[in-house]
């Protein structure tokens, strides 16, 4: 791990310089965009950050952690207690560090507890943990402290943005160096075969627990700063279970194979969400769900993987492969569904006057869906390869 091996590498130099340019652009951004875009960018950075932290552990090992909301919520709650509207108990940077440390300890604890759990059980356990903490805190706040919600002091949008940027850069650097270090290789081998990894002398337990806890630090820190954007905090808001699923979705959407896959995935996904909620608010849920299903069905290796495969296919020419006929039926079903939904939307439903735009977007989605299908069929992407049989 000599730093000069990196600096002398030409590839590294190119990447490093372009990254610096991006960073400089991000750092000067609040100078020339409006307040809302700074807020939006803060949220996108937060999602990228959480996704990348999630990937540090879950990417190479294949353990699907759904504890993200717990780590983030711990950060939010730390801020709610130490940084209330009535006056900060401690300076903010210290609170962020404390939130990181608490998340780290929680991560250690969860990591140590779940050593025996594998596969889906690990995912369910971590999700159960989020709900348990949320419910316990709720009961505690209601029956023991009788708190009527907590208010967090508001901060300047630019300030929040810069703090988030610092945590973001720290996350990326950590993720990158863990990936390139012995730890990264150890995690990789754990993901491939845990027993074999133990046999070649990797301290499996230690590596797993430490990396899991490190990945929790940044989520906690991000939660601490984002609390002042939420303003009003209660356990439901702090421990929002959706935040457990988001990083998983975003990472798979982007593709887990490459370092930059989750980053691209999170950025695109977060922006897409915001775009749909504001531009096509009535169709947000439907479109979001449809995109998820389509991503899982047609590009399980994510955005990056899909682009790579498409490029490769274009280079080498399409290959002829068999296609399950059910796919057609599936797509046909979704077509009917889309038609039905747009029909319902076009109707004047009692009271709720609905956007006419929605019909348009549903049509576009359905058409795009068929075009993708046609393209994939042409490129031989719809191939079969049964596992296990």
């Amino acid at each position: 791990m000599d730093i000069t091996t990196f600096t002398s590498n030409k590839r590294f130099q190119i990447w490093g310089i372009s990254l610096l340019v991006v960073l400089a652009a991000l750092a000067t951004l609040p100078q020339w965009v409006g307040s809302y875009y700074v807020v939006l960018l803060t949220f996108i950075l937060m999602y990228i950050l959480i996704t990348v932290s999630w990937t540090i552990f879950s990417g190479p090992t294949g353990y699907m952690s759904l504890a993200s909301a717990a780590f983030f919520g711990v950060g939010v709650y730390t801020s709610a207690i130490l940084f209330p509207m009535t006056g900060a108990v401690l300076p903010l940077p210290l609170i962020i560090v404390i939130a990181g440390i608490i998340s780290f300890i929680l991560g250690l604890l969860v990591g140590a507890l779940t050593l025996r759990l594998k596969g889906i059980y690990f995912a369910i356990f971590t999700f159960g943990l989020v709900l348990l903490i949320q419910r316990f805190l709720l009961w505690f706040e209601m029956n023991i402290t009788a708190t009527r919600g907590r208010f967090v002091a508001t901060l300047d949008n630019n300030y929040i943005y810069y703090v988030m940027l610092v945590i973001f850069v720290a996350t990326l650097l950590t993720a990158y160096f863990i990936r390139r270090s012995r730890f990264g290789l150890a995690l990789q081998s754990i993901g491939e075969n845990e027993e074999a990894a133990a046999h070649i002398g990797i301290n499996v337990t230690l590596v797993k627990v430490i990396i899991f806890a490190i990945s929790a630090v940044f989520m906690g820190a991000a939660g601490a700063i984002m609390a002042s954007k939420l303003i009003y905090i209660d356990p439901y808001i702090a421990f929002n279970p959706l935040l457990s699923f988001m990083p998983v979705l975003m990472a798979i959407f982007g593709g887990l194979g490459q370092f930059y896959g989750p980053i691209i995935g999170a950025a695109v996904f977060a922006y897409l969400q915001e775009f749909l909620k504001t531009e096509f608010p009535f169709a947000y849920m439907f479109t979001f769900g449809l995109v998820l299903v389509m991503v899982m069905v047609f590009m399980p290796s994510g955005l990056v993987g899909m682009i790579q495969r498409l490029l490769a296919s274009l280079k080498e020419g399409p290959q002829e492969k068999s296609t399950p006929s059910w796919t057609l039926i599936f797509s046909f079903l979704f077509g009917i569904l889309g038609g039905l939904v747009s029909w319902f939307i076009f109707r004047e439903r009692r009271g709720a006057r609905v956007h006419l735009k929605v019909g348009g977007v549903v049509t576009i989605i359905v058409i795009a869906f068929y075009l993708i299908l046609l393209l994939l069929a042409y490129l031989g992407e719809l191939r079969s390869g049964y596992f296990g049989i």
């Binding site: 439907f286 299903v293 709720a352």
Partner: protein, 287 residues
């Protein structure tokens, strides 16, 4: 003594509901390997259809006959068309499980949105069989007792079906080792789809019975999904008996905790769940 009896009866009735909503998920996860987070949405759709039919004058118990097969067909097609395709593309079983959860997550949004568009977000409900029955010193609501009765009957029918019929044997074989079952001449694709369909059927039936006791709205599904996951893990994935026992254990524990502090009942569920996962990850009846 009376209080103890009250607690036990309340626990049994609640356990019946928990068992009912989780048997379907147990089949879907245990055999078809899809942790269907949209399970609760099927319950919601079942409940709404029953409500619509009730408004049109159809008895909810007759709706069972309509909703059940309908849900089965939808579940069957969904698996054949969607999850099966994800399964084919997935490089490993773990990858399939991960991908199918996310696809089911998308399905959750789509189904919930359709329900929102059709029925709106208002709360609905109807009153059916809402009268007390006195059993000795204990008073129970008729609709809850009917729900418990149906749960027991349906579970027994399912158990017998799995134990005795040819298809049941194929399903059990597929649950144990899909690859070998495939080699032995089981049409694995169809068996898994049938299993998923049965899961949806149970969810639809649960929706019908739940709508007699609970108010319904378009966003009620996720709550039932989470309870179902807790029960399924408690009982052991893919085991109907396990889900049955798990449901009753959770119901009785919930009742006892409710007796002391109702505010802690959800905390108790998750605590039991987490401890059990640590002590016995395979569940009570898991192998």
């Amino acid at each position: 003594m009376e209080t103890v009896l009250d607690v036990v009866v309340a626990g049994l009735l609640l356990g019946g509901i928990f068992a009912l909503i989780s048997i379907g998920l147990s089949l879907q996860y245990g055999v078809a390997r899809v942790l269907n987070v949209a399970h609760g949405e099927f319950i919601m759709i079942g409940a709404f259809v029953t409500w619509v039919l009730f408004e049109a004058g159809v008895n909810p118990l007759i709706s069972l006959m309509i909703v059940g097969p309908g849900a089965f067909i939808i579940g069957f097609i969904l698996y054949q068309a969607m999850f099966n395709y994800i399964r084919i593309k997935a490089p490993s079983l773990d990858a399939f499980e991960g991908n199918s959860i996310l696809a089911a997550f998308g399905l959750l949004f789509v189904i919930q949105y359709i329900a929102l568009i059709i029925w709106g977000s208002n709360i609905h409900g109807y009153t059916y069989l809402a009268s007390p029955i006195h059993l000795g010193t204990v008073t129970v609501a008729t609709n809850r007792l009917v729900t418990l009765g149906f749960t027991v009957v349906i579970s027994v029918i399912f158990y017998i079906f799995l134990a005795l019929t040819r298809l049941g044997k194929a399903i059990r074989a597929a649950a144990q080792d899909p690859a070998t079952a495939g080699l032995m001449g089981v049409n694995i694709k169809r068996v898994l789809a049938i299993c998923f369909g049965f899961g949806a059927l149970m969810a639809g039936v649960a929706g019908v019975l739940l709508s007699m006791c609970y108010p319904i709205n378009a966003s009620m599904g996720l709550h039932y999904t989470i309870i179902a996951i807790v029960v399924v893990v408690l009982g052991g994935m893919g085991s109907i008996v396990g889900s049955f026992i798990g449901g009753f254990i959770l119901g009785i524990v919930g009742s006892i905790v409710t007796y002391f502090d109702p505010g802690l009942s959800m905390v108790a569920y998750y605590l039991i769940f987490i401890i059990l996962l640590l002590v016995r990850p395979k569940g009570i009846m898991g192998k």
